[in-house]
């Protein structure tokens, strides 16, 4: 199987990354719009009650508006984190397709991916704790510690170190006459 070029694994992965990136942009934009809409509706309930007559569930929806807005905002932040990761991976991939995977910038990009993964996991715990505090009767997220969530962080940092050594060897090769 070819390593680079049309029909290769890398071209297939590049398509996946591009699709995910565009999908995340659309998703984050929609979440941002929904967050603003829920916030506005919670401050001005007449906007929804004057147009719709759904029943008592609307009142409950309106009373928990800020909570929903917070949940949506947290979701948007989470998706934003994934966007940063995918964007960095796309840049790493562009150096691969250019035939220079051990570019020194890739070390920094992989470290950013590792840090964002760790931040997302910590944010997950914070969000779970806040949700439990603000809405104890609802189980929005599970904030329990998960080793499988931290393992990718370790993997990415190990890969970043491998790339750092690769970048050093690349520099050595450049200065070998």
């Amino acid at each position: 199987m070819r390593a680079l070029g049309p029909g290769s694994v890398s071209s297939f992965l590049k398509i996946i990354l591009d699709v995910i990136y565009v999908g995340l942009w659309v998703w984050v934009s929609l979440l941002a719009i929904f967050t603003v809409a829920v916030l506005l509706l919670s401050f001005n309930p007449e906007l929804i009650t004057s147009k719709l007559h759904i029943g008592s569930s609307v009142d409950e929806l309106i009373s928990k508006g800020p909570l929903f807005a917070g949940a949506l905002g947290a979701w948007a932040l989470l998706s934003g984190g994934w966007m940063v990761i995918v964007e960095r991976l796309r840049r790493v991939f562009s150096t691969l397709t250019a035939g220079d995977p051990f570019h020194p910038d890739n070390v920094r990009r992989l470290r950013v991916v590792g840090l964002v993964l760790a931040a997302l996991e910590i944010g997950h715990y914070i969000f779970a704790a806040l949700a439990k505090w603000l809405a104890p009767d609802t189980k929005i997220v599970d904030g329990s510690f998960s080793l499988s969530a931290w393992f990718p962080v370790l993997v990415v940092f190990v890969l970043a170190e491998v790339f750092r050594e690769g970048a050093r060897l690349r520099r050595e090769a450049e200065l070998t006459i």
Binding site: R171, E172, L175, T176, I177
Partner: protein, 76 residues
Amino acid sequence: MAIRVQLDRILLERRMSLTELSDRVGVTIANLSILKTGKARAVRFTTLDALCRELNCQPGDLMTYEPGPGEAHEED
């Protein structure tokens, strides 16, 4: 690094330009400049062989070891 490349001096003695040497040994001028200015980290035996052949010299004529203060027993 305490290795000094004497390419400038040898080229002057042979009245040869860097461009001419580049054509003869098949190494780019950019790479020869890196070698000449002492920025190179390593030299391939094939490059050294070509340089010695075209400049009619020994490897020891091209490079000398000149340790600076505190460099005599240090590994770089």
